[in-house]
Amino acid sequence: MKAKGKVWSMFMLLLITVVVTAGCGNKASNEGQKGNTAGGTETSTPTTKNDKDIVIAINSNFITLDPHNASDTHSISAARTMYEGLMGFDENMNVVPVLAASHSISEDGLVYTFTLQENVKFQDGTDFNAEAVKVNIARIQDEKNNLRLRKSFAKVAKVETPDAKTVVITLSEPYNAFLNKVAMAPIISPKALEENGADISKNPVGTGPFKFKEWVQGDRLVVVKNPDYWQAGLPKVDSVTFRPVPENGSRIAMLKTGEADFIYPMPTEQVSEVEGLEGITVDTIDSTIVRYVTLNTMKKPFDDVKVRQAINYAINKEAYIKVVKSGLGAKLDSTMSSKTQYYSPQTGYDYDIEKAKQLLTEAGYPDGFETEIWGENESETMKGMQFIQQQLALVGIKVDVKSMEGGTLSDQINSAKTPEEAKIQMWYVSWSPSSGDADGATRGLFSSEMFPPAGSNTAYYKNENVDKWIAEANKSVDPEAAKSIYGNIQKTIWEDAPWAFMGVDQIISGKRSYLEGVKVFPDGSINVLNAEVK
């Protein structure tokens, strides 16, 4: 009897031990942290902040801290806290000089000469100079490294460094978007590159306003003030902690409790929940992200331009913004957003159901037809597809909504090796040019060389003029000429309507009112250079 009792008490003891150690065990590891949690019974809506350590909650993890290999926006944001490039972007996605004091481009568009800022040091104390730039470009171009930025520098024929503060880059052919690409290429300390090699992504060293402190995968990335930063008076906060918080509701809760000082993205359907709350500010700006439906122009009935135009007339875009985007968005009035380089607004396709019916009749489909639309299985995308389904039903087009998980969908689209094999009819999707350049918003989507799997021209759109113009614009040296060519491209595509042009996303972020200077740029990257606690 005694032995039996012992077993039972041991069992309970074990449970209690687990509970107690669970409580204590993590205390120790937490002592280094400060100011991040809403402590104890404090008020749940703080309106002031005593320290200068800010917390930013974002919706997903960082993938890599290697700035030459980052392709997701959050990794790019993280890299930009610690790194800078010769050029950078301002909040309207214009290319502006950063580590280059000035630059000039030869008349033939082949030679780019950069004069570098002086007295800039990397965070490891080494000098930033022309040699460092050369080392970085060599790293990007090295095939062995297979870095994401390599294709942006494919046209660089040689890099020369006549003196320590001059870099001369010669291209093999003119490349209109080259400055944008330079702005996407941060400069890493050559010493750190040599010492860390492939591990540079775990030990980032740049010239940026913040220094790397720690990266706990999936939990937080902490960067601290670089005291030797070359721009006087910056940065104004001591540290920035990024926390991936995938659940929308949890991010909002963190903003409300003050555990996060800034959250991005702010889910559109929850803006109304926090708007007007004391101590919280919601910011919105137009993005470079466009939403559209590709129409497979090589498949019946979408091979008829009248059908495609009819679809554009049949969808009420204002209602789309209201219903699907909770009113936070703009109508897409071109092939690119107003925040993209060389944007040129178009007119037409105002909601007109009679016109749509008439065009369908002219095309030989007076009673409409049946088709299917593809999209990802995420809730807002589903809502978008259902909206389109409902709108097109009014003109007799019966749309079957097929939602798929991202990877599966990508496979469906890219497994077709030729346009004939393609099963895609309509695809509800979005696109954002990573460096805000017109080429990035055009070539991959509309050039006939970019049919899947080579690119993302999922409308299988082919227009010889557009093909010719894309090549011309790319090689054009004069920005005015490029602007006019891109104007023609946008006008032509707009009339050909290979897409149902839907909307431009708005970037919505939420912050505590005492925080200023944190900006989300139109490409969705977060900029903390001017962050300040007031």
């Binding site: 749940s44 390599r150 599966t408 990508s410």
Partner: protein
Amino acid sequence: MGRYALQRLLGVIPLLFIVSVLVFLFIHLIPGDPARLIAGKDATLEEIRGIQEQLGLNLPLWKQYINYMGDLLSGNLGNSIRSGIPVTDMLESRVMPTLWLTFLSMAWALIIGLLIGVVSAVYRNRWPDHLGTLTAISGMSIPGFWLGLVLIQIFSVELGWFPTGGVDSWKSYILPSITLGMGIMSMLARYSRSSMLETLREDYIRTGRAKGLREYVVIGRHALRNSLIQVVTVAGLQFGFLLGGSVMVETVFSIPGLGRLLVDSILFRDYTVIQALLLLFATQFILINLLVDLLYGVLNPKIRFSQ
């Protein structure tokens, strides 16, 4: 007992081998090319091929399998194909939050669940039983996702007692473990109630009572212990599911655990990480089952002798 345990432990090895083959094949059967997902929407074909070559994804499947098994046997789980970070590093940083979360959830679910079950059985068809049943049924029917958000709204946003997420201190684990443990607690309450009721009808209980044993001895030492076998089975199975299945709770409370890592990895077809995680889950599942079997022996020596 020791020999039995060792035998069972050795039996795990072929099982793990079979699991590894199945995991490998299944993962490669999911549609979606990791190279394309890693390279992003605007990638060129050349870039995608480069990534495929770099990762060995262009090799025939059997060659990939041999490479993978070779690495695995030498204890190398490889690098994440998405981020290039060694898989062991990723698991290392993610395993503790998940373990704490699961243990805590299991601990309170067991204690409260058993308590409710025993009280319900003893006071059968009286108000404590009705209250217990109500609690258990509600606990089972509340969706965890919703419960998590409600708890955050009440205890973090309104009252400010606990953080909304992360793993900064012990406080961070309270709300998630309540969310995660609720379902199991309810299930255990139901199982222990019915199991206890059955035991209370046994002859030896009647004998015990007739001998004049105090009621708490009858219930605590005789009835409870014998009804625990069924409870241990259920708890063991649930524990296995919990470790891998805390995805939802980890998402709501932004806990950097294994569940979230698995979801992220599946979205990007990060083969190496998915493989490592599934193997890990399979291993712990097998080990927990082994532990449950051994516990039977402890609880009822008759089972031990009949092995």
